[in-house]
Symmetry: C2
Subunit: 213 residues, 2 copies
DNA sequence: TTATTTTTTTACCATACGGTACAAAAAAAG
DNA sequence: CTTTTTTTGTACCGTATGGTAAAAAAATAA
């Protein structure tokens, strides 16, 4: 069990949750492999044996950090899926993603992307976990869109898989742009353009204007 | 000078261009820091002193690799900018990016993104180079769009900076989706949706449908 | 006080990293 | 053949990495 509330023995000199939050921010900024143990211990204000006693090892600490990430900085995702219409879902998703990736009080971008986008063979397991998380997110999007389609929100020829991938492109693309320095304002404008595209794509006959003379 | 054509001395046992191509592929797949010198020497078929004699060091080798990357796998970018209309430019850009990120004969994604998206402090100079490259690409996009606007292709209220950022989101987002496993076909569908969005956004009055009762 | 439990501190371990010195090898030049 | 020039192979260097052993310190329990 992680929740150690035993009153016996020397008490911990640090707050486990706050230390995890600090670890999250370092991993977020430098990635899994770019983060060294001294980076972690310095940010968390503890030393190595304390880290290992409380969190297992570097990889397990990272896994706990992405769990925290999903609940807090990336917490807009699940509520967005619960919106009553696909339009409201897309709106919350796009503007939530734009805001999350460019929050001035946190590292820029998305941990699911930059945590281990490309890495050495040693970190392949971590990379695979993040790939699976991204896949799962897109699948949830697709299923939400298919429900909307079944409920008659979309035209009959709408490709929900492609549309889910399109939304994934927006979220991940905005996160890259945020690391490149795009402002929160600019990303909101991009989200607005993407939302219009979403509306157009869901109202059927996704025709590329062919009659451009 | 890199181009050493001296006929004197022991001849090189490897082809410099082919070795650089191999190095590019390793960097592309594992990123700058995720790639070790043994990774490089094995892929290139040479040993460390030969690598250092021919390319300087790991960082200089990486810089030469991204130069090659810009000319070959990412070679669709500059020609797209030269298209006569903004529409044709966007079309070539989006479909070119979709194809490049999912080419089955090469690593997935975009080296400009995954070469050093997040990294340790040691690699900060390389990360900064890639950030600058991405910024420069978006600026070229913006300037091309501004030219199109000046030539009367767009409505008066079109925000070329936001539109350039939107295109950057598509290119970088598709590259992430490619590393996550998206097929070339799926990315083409996404590119088509994005191209429609581009058309809509350039024909003025980017109105979010507010009258949705 | 003494014994027990847990955390902290310090010091260390094996391995892998980027990079290089040095001598052997392979070619052309004299 | 000898000299000169350049590349190759091997062996090595200092440092940083993730991880741990062992003792000191701080709390409770008896």
């Amino acid at each position: 069990m992680t929740g150690n509330t035993s009153t016996i023995g020397r008490p911990r000199a640090f707050d486990v949750d706050k230390a995890l939050q600090k670890a999250l921010e370092v991993f977020w900024e430098k990635g899994y492999e770019g983060t060294s143990l001294p980076d972690l211990t310095e940010a968390m204000g503890i030393n190595k044996p304390s880290l290992y006693a409380a969190f297992g090892n570097k990889e397990q600490l990272f896994l706990k950090a992405i769990e925290l990430y999903e609940n807090r900085p990336c917490g807009f995702f699940q509520p967005a899926l619960l919106q009553p219409t696909a339009y409201l879902m897309a709106e919350q998703m796009l503007f939530g993603g734009a805001a999350a990736s460019s929050d001035p009080s946190l590292p820029k971008g998305c941990l699911m992307v930059q945590g281990a986008l490309s890495c050495s063979d040693n970190a392949n397991s971590v990379k695979q976990v993040l790939i699976e998380k991204r896949r799962s997110g897109e699948l949830q999007l697709q299923q939400r869109l298919e429900r909307a389609k079944a409920e008659g929100e979309f035209a009959a020829d709408v490709d929900c898989a492609a549309l889910a991938c399109f939304l994934g492109v927006q979220l991940h693309g905005m996160s890259i742009q945020a690391t490149t320095g795009a402002s929160s304002d600019k990303l909101q404008k991009v989200a607005a353009i993407a939302l219009e595209a979403f509306v157009a794509a869901t109202s059927g006959k996704a025709a590329v204007p062919e009659s451009a003379s």
